[in-house]
Point group: C2
Chain length 450, copies 2
Amino acid sequence: MTYDPKTTRLLSFAEAAPKFRDGTDSPRAFLERCLEVIARRDNEVKAFVRMDAERARRAADESAARYKAGRPLSAVDGMPFGVKDMFDTADMDTEMGTPFHRGRRPMFDAAHVDALKRGGAVLVGKTVTSQFAVAGPGPTRNPFDPARSPGATSAGSAAAVGAAMIPVATGSHTRGSVIRPAGYCANFALKATFGALNRGGIMTATRSTDHLGIHAGALADLWATAWQIATVAGGDPGHPGLYGRPELPPARKPIRLIRIETRGWGLTDAASQAAFLALIETLRRDGIEIADRASDPAVADYENTLHEVSPNWGALATWESRWPMRLYRERDARLLHPAIAERVAAGEKMTLDEYRRALAFQAAIRRQHASFAGAADAFVTLSAPGPAPFGDDVGDAVYNEPSSLLGAPALNLPLLAVSGMPLGVQLLGFDHRDWELAGIGRWLAERVLG
Amino acid sequence: MTYDPKTTRLLSFAEAAPKFRDGTDSPRAFLERCLEVIARRDNEVKAFVRMDAERARRAADESAARYKAGRPLSAVDGMPFGVKDMFDTADMDTEMGTPFHRGRRPMFDAAHVDALKRGGAVLVGKTVTSQFAVAGPGPTRNPFDPARSPGATSAGSAAAVGAAMIPVATGSHTRGSVIRPAGYCANFALKATFGALNRGGIMTATRSTDHLGIHAGALADLWATAWQIATVAGGDPGHPGLYGRPELPPARKPIRLIRIETRGWGLTDAASQAAFLALIETLRRDGIEIADRASDPAVADYENTLHEVSPNWGALATWESRWPMRLYRERDARLLHPAIAERVAAGEKMTLDEYRRALAFQAAIRRQHASFAGAADAFVTLSAPGPAPFGDDVGDAVYNEPSSLLGAPALNLPLLAVSGMPLGVQLLGFDHRDWELAGIGRWLAERVLG
């Protein structure tokens, strides 16, 4: 399956939903089409760790009845969705990719799963995650080339959406786990502002930089999903939640974008560099000002700060492994992925003062990032240093770590292709301006994808 | 048991520990003295919901061996402690005061329990909590008068320390659940700066204002416990943790204290008002400047803001009940305390915008509070509008809500008595200056208690 940005189209629920009212389509029929694709492709792609088709069918039928009665519950009523197996579900086990939690059945749905179900969305299944969303890729393959990885750690969610099995899946992003696999699998994906989407019922090894993310085949579904979560579950306790309006914003042509290189550019292969530079050139010809380290000394300064992101992200993750990751290791070290065990060992040697230094860096880079808010619409980079790698190599989060530490919203757009594989473009916005970022993303998608 | 601030002394572990080295005392002997008091008094006080004396004895013996070898693990090595039954413990059930969690055995110790055990502290048992630390008092009685309440919701922890059963117990404070019962039970207690003590493994209905707190019979133990948690478990992810030094600060005489009335003063009985005013007069005679609403217009302004705390605290708690409290109600409404069910019903009618208004109020009052940081050492109030009430009345959190919304550190000092019952004095400090606040508290305690 070759990816062609001009012609490849993944699932869009929003396009189908209007037909549910006049009966020319139905949530049940939509679901059956999803299940057919899953039946045909998931033997190879292995996006799902478990499914419950019968329960999904019942939920879809209930949704169909609501549309018939002219009373859908929300914009996502009847929408099939997948949930990363890091997130609690009361009617399906939640194993977090680890034998420690084999057969674990949570008491309640995670806050965002509950919010989507209350809006009538139809839970299809749980998607493959790395161990604790940290390390150890699962069996999932890239839907555009089974020889390649879908990325990690939200591998199953990205692949299920990329294979057009389902229109929407949820994922989590602590370092790069939403934007990178979304880029490898041609998803639209949003890692919302830190705390903007409620993480209740989500276990995470590094809570200070973990974000709930949304993978979708179409921007309208992405936003409708985010909005449903925000209005029913809100953000994390103490956070104001997602700002914006219920509907996807109109396309908004940016006036000034900042192209940042980060450490990623030097690691990016030549074909991917060329594809990205061609896009930048197109945008310039459209009259969009593109600032970069060469043209703007403030950007050059910022690039220097960005080079410090990786060790500081690492310090946060390492300190936070002291609880509960250390306890897993003590329970049975053999069951823990070596990369996690290594992090735990490093965390044991760390001091609270070292953690504070990383937090101070985080606070400083957030201020520096925010200082561009009046001077640009968004930052733009690739989502990964190339298309999906082969085998079990899940790729490099180098382009994604900044958004994790910053907490600023990030959007993957499936704008480019290299060797027939998707190459994602990442927009990085400003805190709480997720809706605006979606509008800029929409403009770029309409401009490039047609 | 009459409370006399001059003569009543609760347990102090720090006083005993030096004798563990020369063998004139031992952690095991200290524990046995605790178990004797528990055996004698807990039939009436009912502070513990479950205990494991044999496991505690084994831990105390291991600690004794470390002292004998001259290698105690920390300042709390061998210290018996209790844990509010809201907090996960891997070797004892954790039921949160609700039948929903009968027999629930967590996989791991909560972060702070783990930190204390790693320092060699000896877990004695789990203490009584209200349902989900929200409503529905347990069977616990006030150790100074069984006809009276110990307060809520950390009732068991406050009563166990007040009855001199154990030197230290942990509690949680979302609205007033540490400082108020500590005041009723003559504990020293610290509700640390928001996020300064790791809440991993703690379920809470209102996470945005929930704090881990420490109940102790003596200030030195209080600080040693807080320090052990901070250095091993740190603060919440993303928070810098508790600042200060390992040892209790030297007594520090304040130069200027701000006496605030809050809504509480009008609800305070005459005898308690008189006792508090006599203390204020003593402090004035000592040369400490006491500012109040009459003497300082900035304080008068602040008092006006404080009157808005209660509805805004309520809005936070109400919105946050949408998950997971609503799911408990849907699981089985009969098992949920009516006060919680009522909050859930109110939360269903609330909008995210209303929640945001409460967050905006919280941000504003935090700024107003912080503006006094250069102008005073601390704020001073009573911890409750009188001594512990009779029967099942758990008292009023009116003096405690400000600290919950502010996140600033609060300290209860058992300085006063009315009708032979403890009447706590509350110091309210400034973010991250918990250690300084402990120094001021130490000065007041030495001045008043001798």
